[in-house]
């Protein structure tokens, strides 16, 4: 993985000192809250219901064990013993004191981490595939270009006061696990006929009040020219994006109102000028320098099969279920990708305690070539585990409530923090996720239902990705009381789609029954081998609506 050199260390340290000064100026009264707010946001500091919240970036979702240990340490020392992993490969702390945050950031910088640009109207943390460098069939490790983009976008002088926030995601695999079509810019790594690496560029995706799937702007931008292309997109957006209405300020609205072809023309016109200047052409030696950090780790040459692994599955049914649900084939013989579900039955989706983070750090160091990944579905991954050692890893996870075998199943839900924490929320999300999880607690029933992604947001900002859940749930406020609206048929993968609302909203008392009605409608009507989304796509809304409202 990428390691800071002296240059990176110095700049992050500069930034911590700068923020320390900003906090001091705010506390002394030299800055008003209105002036301070964009500065604290640019450093990941929000004010939520009960306290400040700090969002720390985990660039493209990759951590080493020392970093994970630091996240645990911060949870203990500056927070209340836990952290919340988010849908954009960040971790959020819910209780830090403002006057301690500069010290916290100092400690984070010690392990090459930061909270830079995790909020504010700037280019946010670049996200990517949690299986990068581990999955078979990748065109190229997407973290190489992600790191180049991270550096280019950090402290970008032109794009720090954009009309609205700006999110970029990258996938290097045809199976999109990074929801790239729901980002302001989504990139797909491709190889052209000459064998050169480049990127398909999608622009204008997003959720919130007005969801859109991104439009493809170009089939192929060569690697060395990608920054020039991105700068062109950003400049068009910064100059033409709306600033009169924050709900219409995202680039998705500009793309929608301008039209795909005109937008392509505007971007190409900027791109040709920037490209001609060669100012942002990425030199080969820089590509090589950064690529070297993502060279495959020191895999051992192992047999594709492990007798011990096979035997352990036959002796331990729980382990066998875990393997079936949470373990994914690795590109390297004798290794596996192990998903750690942060969705224990009845738990808070995405939360991990300091002790759990320490356990995962230890396991990563010992058994996963020192790497941990964070997923946009709020789970963690040990990307490089030997089959021979998988049972040992499983036992350690199980001892800390980290071995729930439910990946991709109905209890593996995305949920935003909702009204339990969030200043913007209209309704609670977490208690609903907990009730659904408990209703469907029986794992055999979950396996029978199969792949089903429930995503819950506590307000229209859609941090819980409800628009792209197979079943989406949106909390709404009606005169101080919580109601929940259901949508069906959304998808966040390579077949990205926005779900359709079923009809009127349900009360807190009725919503879990309604979800069960949707699920039994599917199990009653499915054809052999059909997943929920397949049945929905075949039959449409009608049968579900009929059962829900008649």
């Amino acid at each position: 993985m990428y390691r800071y050199d002296e240059f990176d260390h110095k700049l992050v340290a500069d930034r911590v000192n700068q923020f320390r000064g900003q906090v001091e100026r705010r506390v002394s009264g030299a800055l008003t809250e209105d002036q301070f707010k964009p500065l604290r946001l640019m450093n990941g500091v929000y004010l939520q219901l009960h306290a400040y919240m700090l969002r720390v970036a985990i660039p493209y979702g990759t951590l080493c064990s020392a970093q994970m240990r630091m996240l645990a340490h911060i949870a203990r020392k500056y927070d209340r013993g836990y952290g919340h992993f988010t849908t954009r490969q960040n971790i959020q702390y819910n209780w830090p004191a403002l006057d301690k945050i500069p010290d916290l950031l100092d400690e984070l910088a010690g392990v090459e981490m930061h909270a830079i640009q995790t909020s504010g109207n700037c280019i946010r943390n670049v996200t990517s595939d949690q299986y990068a460098g581990a999955i078979e069939g990748e065109v190229e490790d997407p973290r190489i270009i992600s790191e180049i983009i991270r550096q280019w976008s950090t402290f970008h002088p032109e794009f720090t006061y954009l009309p609205r926030k700006f999110k970029i995601a990258v996938t290097g695999h045809v199976n999109d696990r990074a929801a790239i079509k729901l980002h302001d810019i989504g990139l797909v790594v491709k190889r052209n006929n000459d064998g050169d690496i480049g990127y398909e560029v999608h622009v204008g995706g997003g959720q919130g009040r007005t969801p859109f799937v991104a439009k493809k702007m170009t089939d192929f931008v060569p690697k060395a020219k990608l920054l020039a292309y991105l700068e062109a997109v950003m400049r068009v957006y910064n100059m033409l994006g709306r600033r009169d209405n924050s709900y219409k300020a995202r680039i998705k609205i500009l793309v929608h109102e301008t039209g795909q072809e005109e937008m392509q023309r505007l971007i190409e016109a900027e791109f040709s000028k920037i490209d001609a200047s060669q100012m942002l052409t990425v030199p080969q030696e820089e590509i090589d320098r950064i690529s070297a950090y993502f060279a495959p780790p020191a895999f051992q040459t192992l047999a594709a099969k492990s007798d011990g692994f096979t035997q352990a599955q036959s002796q331990d049914a729980d382990f066998a279920r875990f393997v079936r649900a949470n373990v994914v084939a690795h590109k390297q013989a004798g290794y596996a990708i192990v998903n750690i579900s942060l969705k224990p039955i009845g738990g808070v989706p995405g939360d991990a305690t300091d002790a759990q983070m320490d356990v995962i750090a230890d396991l990563a160091e010992k058994y996963s070539l020192d790497e941990v990944r964070v997923t946009h579905e709020q789970n963690l991954v040990l990307p490089h585990v030997k089959l021979d050692e998988l049972k040992t890893v499983y036992d350690a996870l199980a001892a800390h409530d980290l071995a729930t075998a439910n990946l991709g199943l109905i209890s593996d839900q995305i949920a935003c923090p909702g009204l339990d924490y969030c200043n913007l929320a209209n309704a609670r999300s977490i208690p609903l996720a907990q009730e659904i999880s408990e209703r469907f607690a029986d794992l055999d029933r979950q396996y029978d239902i199969g792949e089903l992604k429930i995503k819950i947001s506590g307000c229209i900002n859609a941090c819980g990705h409800h628009h792209v859940g197979h079943i989406g749930i949106l909390g709404v406020d009606k005169k101080g009381t919580e109601f929940y609206q259901i949508s069906l048929g959304g998808a966040a993968d390579e077949n990205a789609a926005i779900g359709q609302i079923t009809g009127r909203a349900f009360t807190e008392e009725d919503i879990v029954d309604a979800i069960e009605t949707v699920v039994t409608t599917y199990t009653d009507l499915r054809a052999d081998g059909e997943r929920f989304i397949d049945t929905y796509n075949r039959l449409g809304m009608a049968p579900f609506k009929e059962r829900l409202y008649d």
Partner: protein, 106 residues
């Protein structure tokens, strides 16, 4: 400034978050910010509410708190309680972590 009071609300109180640590605070009758909702001054009627908010935001209020605002409270026997789910959660803590927030010390 955030405004969460329902139109026509009879009883209101003023809340904010403390600058140094973000703690939820309420304006109390002895003209200071306190941590407990039970100590909040309750205004009866719109004029009293306006007067209460005016006292809670002296010229230097930003040196101590963020975004003070009025919110509706209801009579609850001999006491008062916040009217909305949001303010109930602010006054107590997350409903999914009863060990955290003000409710933890109760």
């Amino acid at each position: 400034m955030a405004q969460h009071a329902a139109k026509g609300a009879r009883f209101q109180a003023v809340t904010a978050n403390r600058l140094s640590d973000g703690e939820v605070v309420y304006w109390a009758a002895d003209n200071r910010w306190v941590e407990g909702f039970a100590d909040a001054e309750i205004a009866d009627g719109a004029d009293a509410a306006d007067a209460l908010l005016a006292r809670a935001i002296p010229a230097d209020f930003e040196a101590h708190v963020l975004e003070p605002y009025l919110f509706e409270v209801l009579e609850d026997g001999a006491f008062y309680k916040p009217a909305s789910v949001r303010e109930t959660i602010r006054a107590a803590g997350p409903t999914v972590r009863l060990d955290l927030g003000k409710q933890a010390g109760a």
